[in-house]
Symmetry: C2
Subunit: 281 residues, 2 copies
């Protein structure tokens, strides 16, 4: 079940001349609402603010976005206060033509969706993945951002569904591991923790950011770097992060299998300590 809101009222449609519809001109955030509170709210709003800067869109006042979310939650009343809030900032209505006039005011929409937790067993045993054939284009001017241009993820995710895998790992056009279709990736090699650089493509997830901070504070050597695909195959452990599920071990990618590793378990523990209750084992 889902429900959309705009300006505090239920919404079912967007204007046919909305720039998000025509060009994917806009940004979004998928926020985990748990017990009525949006998790990692500051990180989500910081990423959206950065996105607005890079796209020259006007960022709404964060307090107002928070107020609108609260109004929506008040009307939707999710069970236990748990749901997924999708916050979309579109480029707003426009005429034909790619150019966005300066001062265009975007449209803010908030969608609330049922939260379906990942089964407990997946946190314990890990999940299965495949490598997607769809590449991520490299050198993107929107690398790291969560824009509404997501065709690569649509194609990758559709591959993943066809393969009946939990997640698809995506490589860039240079055969480097970048991320999952809806998650970020960490690998552990020789006790060093590496997450792919997102300078050229990919989305810089909020859970990735939280975990990087937590690992560094725990004293682990962590770096964001290029990860040629062979480094994935040669790694000792692999796990994924995502705003909704926290962290999950990758137990398989195609033919390659991994045991659940120590850094993965540590990461789940650190996230649990930092408010991501799903990761408490």
């Amino acid at each position: 079940m889902s429900q959309w809101f705009r300006d505090g009222k239920p919404a079912t449609a967007v204007s046919i001349d909305d720039r998000a519809f025509h060009y994917g001109d806009g940004l979004f955030e998928t926020v985990a609402v748990r017990g009525g509170e949006p998790r990692l709210w500051q990180y989500h709003m910081e990423r959206m603010t950065l996105g607005c800067e890079r796209l020259s869109l006007e960022m709404p006042a964060v307090d107002e976005v928070r107020d609108e979310l609260q109004v929506a939650l008040g009307q939707h009343s999710p069970r236990n206060g748990d749901c997924i809030a999708k916050i979309v900032l579109s480029g707003g209505p426009g005429q034909r033509g790619y150019g966005r006039p300066p001062g265009t005011v975007g449209a803010l929409l908030i969608g609330l969706f049922d939260y379906k937790p990942v089964p407990r067993q997946a946190y314990v045993d890990g999940i299965d993945t495949v490598v997607c054939e769809t590449p991520l284009a490299t050198g993107s001017p929107t690398a790291g951002l969560k824009t509404l241009n997501r065709l690569e993820q649509v194609l990758g995710r559709s591959e993943c569904l066809a393969a009946d895998a939990f997640e698809g790992l995506m490589l860039d056009a240079g055969n480097r591991l970048i991320c999952g279709t809806m998650s970020n990736v960490f690998i552990v090699s020789d006790n060093s923790v590496i997450t792919p650089s997102l300078e050229r493509c990919g989305v810089a997830g909020v859970m990735r950011r939280l975990l990087l901070k937590a690992l560094v504070e725990r004293g682990l050597a962590v770096k964001a770097a290029d990860v040629p695909i062979d480094e994935l195959w040669n790694s000792d452990e692999v796990f994924l992060t995502n705003s909704q599920f926290g962290a999950l071990s990758v137990r398989r990618c195609g033919e390659r299998e991994w045991p659940v590793g120590g850094v993965t378990r540590l990461s789940q523990g650190l996230l649990a300590e930092n408010g991501v209750g799903e990761c408490a084992l």
Copy 2:
């Protein structure tokens, strides 16, 4: 003035769960309607069909698309039968999540916009351009297609408007000339005609296709190839193609100026012979 149609009726909105709005999941064509007839209709429909194959979207029957366009034109009655028809095929409604279930039926929308011809003088003297700072990501799985993921063009076009230029030339992340924000590019060097390869990014325009065919049939050496930016600066002539305006000479890009060249004039003549009346001088 513009008017949108769906299923033969005026439309003002799209469903808030449309996949085009959320992911830019879909395709479009911008068709020149002249004297009531859609120009290069077959090329447009072939590109959309190819796009559907690559995106695993179901392509509507071309005859039905043509019928819907005709119904729309009948209601809109553009002056002299001249207008711009934007045909959008969106991924249709969906739930949250990137994956598109197999068998998803897309939504076909037709927008009719006023046609404002490029001033006569521009065909004679050429137009001014700039090089956009926004790069095109390279190695895109949708290279060549006209998808609804157009943020790079939005950013490039906005730069171009800020610079008050007619068009912005876009380079890929490897500093190769690819295309304009809304046009394709041809350069002439040592009597050889080159248009950038669109294997890694860019949109393969219908006017580019028509002109390539016409030039080859006229016996000219023409090739699609990589064009490092220096080859632009060292070229003897440069011109642009686009479904609406046909072909226009580039007389300036930043500080570099070019005279209107012989191949440009020949190209305008060939297009005029092939039904692109705007190019008849």
